[in-house]
């Protein structure tokens, strides 16, 4: 096994470097998600004034998703459509990018679209990335190229994290001076997790 040490060390180092900015995004977002009120005070969201635009000659498309995309193109906006809400006269939906939301309400009778912009900042942007694509609105999710790419990126991120952590254990095993303390570190982690799970369940 030791003959693989150099190879595993190089892969651990390179894959670890590659995932490190993503680990930072996910870790920072955990702090923001767990202390939302504090971060809201630190950097409140900024709401822009609603802008109205008449979409001349707008035609509904065969599906709600296509209609929303068509409205976005007419407004020269892009992003991930979160969900769509309809009434007899309005067609509304939020469009997200990390840290930025556009609320769009289109009046199907008058052809006027109202757009409200909310800038939530970079820290909230990390929480958006953390929660996407996520478990909700699965049929809707991935309607932008960005989200399709992010979905693939998050999967690769997890697989790389698993590889980097497993290869880290492999490398530690061959470091004799660190073996005893390492067993304690692993043991404390395991014991802490077991206690938490017992409390939770």
């Amino acid at each position: 096994m030791k003959k693989y040490y150099s190879l595993v060390r190089a892969l651990h180092l390179y894959f670890g470097l590659f995932i490190s900015p993503f680990v930072l995004i996910f870790s920072i977002s955990v702090l923001v998600l767990n202390h939302t009120a504090y971060f809201n005070r630190l950097r409140p969201g900024e709401d822009g004034q609603p802008i109205q635009k008449h979409l001349a000659g707008f035609q509904p498309q065969p599906s709600d998703s296509l209609t929303a995309k068509s409205i976005l193109r007419s407004l020269d906006l892009s992003g991930e459509i979160d969900w769509i809400s309809k009434t007899d006269t309005t067609f509304s939906f939020p469009v997200n990018k990390p840290g930025l939301i556009h609320w769009i309400s289109f009046n199907t009778k008058t052809g006027i679209a109202s757009v409200t912009r909310r800038d939530e900042g970079m820290l909230k942007g990390t929480t958006y990335l953390h929660m996407m694509p996520g478990q909700h609105n699965a049929r809707m999710r991935g309607n932008s190229v960005f989200m399709k790419a992010w979905r693939v990126a998050t999967d690769f991120f997890v697989y790389f994290v698993l590889f980097v952590s497993a290869s880290g254990v492999f490398l530690w095993y061959f470091l004799r001076p660190e073996r005893k303390l390492g067993i304690y570190s692993l043991g404390f982690g395991l014991a802490f997790l077991i206690v938490l799970l017992m409390l939770l369940f």
Binding site: L17, F26, S27, G79, G182
Partner: protein
């Protein structure tokens, strides 16, 4: 015995913090995968949930308590994060949630009678819930956890996040020390910062 150099300290911190966090990293990585792939059949939980509903009767003095939710929970022997409290002149309703168990309690305030609906998830559902269980509400950001265990779990998640940030930063320091042997590291780090920056600042 000589005091450890900065390099030695960073290296040991990276190794032992990484080992301490190992199981937490796996727990959250795999639950993240489950959340992003709700269609995976082997990990389906919603279809396999167990639901039960029973009629209950709580003592009327519990309903006049300043904190009736806590008294009712004590009486019914349930614990968890209390959410969705609704009180009218006639009825009291609330939800108690712990990972994998959701209990909806509805009580008639005049008679003390009511119902307790319990929904239990399988192991996959419990695992998924652990990832998101922080007692926070998207609709009400000022809400804080009201169950001690949620608070402990939330601070554990904070600790894991800080630990991972330290592990990342220490990895950069460790690579910088051996950068001449691992020159590809420059390109990889620059490339990954670029990719992460594209996702974060895409607007």
């Amino acid at each position: 015995m000589q005091p450890p150099t900065f390099h030695t300290f960073t290296r040991r911190l990276h190794i032992h913090l990484g080992l301490f966090l190992l199981l937490f990293i796996w727990l959250f990585s795999l639950s993240g995968l489950l959340l992003n792939h709700g269609g995976w059949k082997f990990a389906s939980f919603w279809e396999q949930r167990q639901e039960s509903k029973i009629d209950i009767a709580v003592p009327l003095n519990a309903l006049t308590d300043p904190n009736p939710d806590a008294r009712i929970m004590e009486f019914l022997k349930i614990s968890g994060e209390v959410q969705q409290q609704k009180r009218t002149a006639e009825a009291l309703e609330f939800r108690v949630q712990s990972p994998g168990i959701v209990t909806d309690v509805s009580i008639d305030l005049t008679t003390g009678s009511g119902t307790k609906k319990v929904m239990k998830y399988n192991v996959w559902g419990k695992w998924r819930t652990l990832h998101t269980f922080n007692g926070m509400s998207k609709e009400n950001p000022s809400q804080s956890p009201n169950w001690l265990v949620t608070t402990i779990w939330r601070f554990t998640m904070d600790g894991i996040a800080v630990g991972l940030i330290i592990t990342c930063l220490s990895s950069w320091i460790m690579w910088y020390d051996v950068r001449k042997e691992y020159k590809l590291g420059y390109s990889i780090l620059a490339g990954s910062l670029g990719v992460a920056g594209y996702f974060l600042f895409w607007n």
